[in-house]
């Protein structure tokens, strides 16, 4: 079991330490091979879990031991983590493969550094998923944060990119604070961080549970880019595109989902927290969908789309549809990774041009990319029988059962999703080419190692939904049954079949309409001029960054300035005055410190003698000590 994270760790160490020695090929093979090996082991583990079904906790060694609690470095592989393992290692492997081609222009040692980071990321993510307690999860949590930072700032010579990396790091820290507090809270209350112990603990008051859940959710908000901590994710697109695909779409950002799904027992016990999760999720889904409508950067669109989809997942979690959320994580991992990689392929072909206004008509130049991208778009838009349909529909159905308003807003978001995705698709691949002549002449389909992952992911995006065909469609809801031992507190909605049909039909219809509208609007003559009014607001992301700047950064700066002045004038005078006093007196005392070792030792011996003498006559010593204190 420990092999799964061990391989990526070894890969990271080897390609990291020997980055100056390894050739590009060797680094690629080592890194990809490590993930492949880990994938194979995960696969075996998956089937073991599937057949055995028992939750296995493997303690490796004692990590922290205090009188109050003991934390083992233990791994737990159950249905939930087995599924995540497959997603992480599987998609991770595809993206490693993709990266060997995508990053091929880098210097060898940068190339190896990249793969080292990537492997380290996979290792941390596996640690996060496999940990048998919150502390191990937190280690992985911080590890993925670190790797995300390193990878966003991979091209560290560009200060904008490093700024984006720092932003991601700091935003995440705010969330991590919540997580850490939650862990402390749990440790303090339960005396253990093991999932089994925590979930079975019955000494929580409802306030405790709510506090823990909200604190955990703050952590999830940071990591999974929910309102109001989402702004780092679009900026994180500064990193190489495969990184965006792996970290900022498929895996890391779903860590929040994983955490909440893992803690479903706690959440189900706290209605307030659930409502909070649902509302924040829904708000994020809608809010970022509106922003995505007007973005022109191919990766930005995908990034906001990711935020939006994450919102859906949280909605699912909030309404108790844990399976749906996890299912959506999986399908989203397939098609969003696909879309990012497709975007990467486009960017690669366009020589690092990311603005869709300068693209168009790439259909005939990049046939494989085009088809796979199209499949991805259909999947995300929720057209049956593609994977996105099943997962999104499950969440929406659960939302309807919970509150029809949620459903209505959710469908609106889905419609926007379909619209902006096909806007993206149409402006990129349809119509005529709008880039420079030079770009046109260099347009080429990507190499096989890039298109192969695309094709695999496209296949998965198409068929991935059949893993969990709901009962209403005469499926067997395989994933649902598989996960049920872990997600014990899943709320079953009791909608009649006819209601479900209507819900499905309406959401699909709305999404399809939006889709067709988008294709019509953008395929031939896209209006890509400067947006006005609401459009401008949307294009500027609701001015959230500016608002943050005005509301937090600027006041903070001015307050700091004020304090600085105050401190410099007032307090510094005081401090400097006392400092001068100390300086003067120490100048006198310093004469004792003549730098000659002999005299120091002499002082030492003399003081020892004096101490002994005092000890001899203890009353004097006692009085002396009393006088001092």
């Amino acid at each position: 079991m420990y092999l799964v994270p061990l391989f990526p760790l070894l890969g990271a160490i080897i390609s990291g330490l020997f980055r100056n020695q390894l050739s590009k090929t060797a680094a690629g093979i080592i890194a990809s091979g490590a993930i492949a090996a880990s994938f194979v082991v995960s696969f075996l583990l998956f089937f073991q879990v599937k057949s055995g079904g028992a939750i296995a906790v493997t303690p490796l060694f004692t990590f922290i031991k205090t009188s109050a609690f003991t934390i083992d470095f233990a791994f737990q592989v159950d249905q939930l983590s087995a599924l995540f393992l497959l997603i992480i290692t599987g998609i991770g492997f595809l993206i490693h493969l993709y990266s060997t081609a995508y990053m091929h222009e880098e210097e060898p040692h940068h190339f190896a550094r990249y793969f080292s980071y990537l492997n380290l990321f996979v290792f941390s993510m596996l640690l996060l998923v496999m940990g048998a307690n919150y502390v191990i999860m937190f280690i992985g949590w911080e590890g993925v944060g670190l790797c995300s930072y390193l990878l966003i700032g991979y091209w560290f010579k560009n200060t904008n990119y490093t700024a984006a990396a720092k932003k991601a790091f700091i935003m995440n820290r705010i969330g991590d604070m919540g997580f850490l507090l939650a862990v402390f809270y749990i440790l303090q209350k339960v005396g253990s961080a093991n999932y089994a112990t925590v979930f079975a603990f019955d000494g929580f008051s409802s306030t405790d549970v709510t506090t823990i859940c909200i604190l955990l959710f703050v952590g999830a908000m940071g990591k999974s880019a929910q309102l109001p901590l989402y702004t780092w994710l679009p900026d994180a697109m500064a990193g190489p595109t495969p990184v965006s695909a792996l970290i900022h779409a498929a895996t890391m950002v779903t860590a929040g989902i994983y955490m909440i799904a893992r803690s479903n027992v706690l959440y189900s016990a706290s209605e307030i927290a659930q409502h909070l999760v649902a509302i924040v999720g829904l708000a994020t889904a809608l809010f970022s969908a509106t922003i995505a409508l007007k973005q022109n950067d191919i990766k930005k669109v995908l990034a906001y789309s990711t935020v939006s989809q994450l919102g859906y997942m949280f909605l699912g979690l909030g309404v108790g549809a844990y399976t749906g959320a996890v299912f959506h994580v999986m399908t989203h991992a397939f098609f969003k990774a696909l879309l990012f990689l497709g975007a990467g392929s486009v960017i690669h072909a366009m020589h690092h041009e990311q603005d869709i206004r300068n693209m168009g008509g790439l259909k005939k130049h990049l046939p494989i990319t085009h088809i796979t991208f199209l499949l991805g778009c259909i999947a995300i838009a929720g057209v049956p029988p593609f994977s996105g349909f099943f997962s999104k529909d499950e969440i929406l159905a659960a939302a309807y059962a919970h509150n029809p308003i949620y459903w209505g807003l959710g469908v609106a978001g889905a419609a926007m999703t379909a619209f902006y995705m096909f806007r993206l698709y149409a402006t990129t691949f349809l119509g005529s080419f709008r880039g420079t002549q030079q770009q046109l002449s260099h347009l080429h389909e990507s190499p096989i190692s890039m298109t192969l992952p695309l094709m695999v992911l496209a296949l998965l995006s198409v068929v991935g939904g059949f893993l969990n065909v709901p009962e209403v469609l005469h499926g067997n809801a395989a994933l649902h049954h598989f996960l049920s031992p872990v997600l014990t507190s899943e709320s079953k909605h009791s909608l009649s079949h006819s209601t479900e049909y209507i819900l499905m039909g309406s959401s699909v219809a709305i999404a399809t309409l939006a889709l067709i509208f988008a294709i019509n609007k953008f395929s031939k003559n896209p209006e890509l001029g400067e947006a006005t009014g609401l459009g401008k607001t949307l294009a500027n992301k609701w001015y959230v960054d500016e608002a943050y700047d005005a509301a937090i950064v600027k006041p903070l700066n001015s307050v700091s300035l004020l304090f600085k002045n105050f401190v410099e004038k007032g307090i510094d005078g005081l401090v400097n005055g006392s400092g001068k006093l100390v300086q003067y007196s120490s100048r006198q005392v310093r004469l004792v410190q003549n730098g000659q070792v002999g005299s120091y030792i002499l002082y030492m011996v003399l003081s020892m003698v004096i101490l002994f003498l005092l000890w001899w006559n203890q009353p004097i010593l006692t009085k002396f000590i009393q006088k001092i204190f």
Partner: protein, 167 residues
């Protein structure tokens, strides 16, 4: 008074005398040799206490290795001249007085430790100093300290080489 007592007094007197000579000798090489003699007498004490292993290790490590190292350094530096820097007489006096008073304090502490008055150190018998006893304990209960000390030693060696290298 048996042979053992006689040997004890002889060795003690010799070790104190040689320790004094370490201080008094002007020539560092003589100091080293007197110190070697001190180590020999202390090794003799170990034999009296039937600590055979420590006896031999003391000889190998202190007399055979450490002091040779000292000799090496002194000889290479050509410090055999008597022109060694001397402290002023007052500093010497102060040092001697404070060291002496430390000794006085120690002695009075020891004398006042009443429970020590009747205690005896076992001479000649007792097998804990034998190599198999020590070895078994060392390699069962004290393996980790042993390994750590070996790491310490290795790092000291590396450090010494690194410091001593000409730049």
């Amino acid at each position: 008074m048996g042979t053992t007592q006689l040997l004890f007094w002889l060795l003690s007197a010799l070790s104190i005398f040689s320790a004094m000579m370490v201080l008094i000798s002007k020539n560092p090489v003589h100091s080293v040799l007197w110190l070697v003699l001190v180590f020999f007498t202390i090794s003799g004490h170990y034999i009296l206490l039937n600590a055979q292993f420590l006896f031999i290790v003391n000889l190998i490590v202190y007399a055979g290795a450490i002091m040779v190292l000292f000799l090496f350094v002194i000889m290479l530096m050509n410090l055999n001249k008597d022109a060694e820097p001397q402290k002023s007489i007052w500093m010497k006096l102060a040092g001697a007085i404070s060291g002496g008073s430390l000794l006085l304090i120690f002695v009075s502490v020891v004398r006042s430790a009443s429970e020590m008055q009747s205690k005896q150190a076992l001479l000649k018998t007792g097998n804990i100093g034998l190599i198999d006893q020590l070895g078994k304990t060392l390699f069962s209960e004290y393996v980790i300290p042993f390994e750590i000390s070996s790491v310490l030693f290795l790092s000291a060696m590396v450090g010494a080489v690194a410091i001593g290298k000409k730049h």
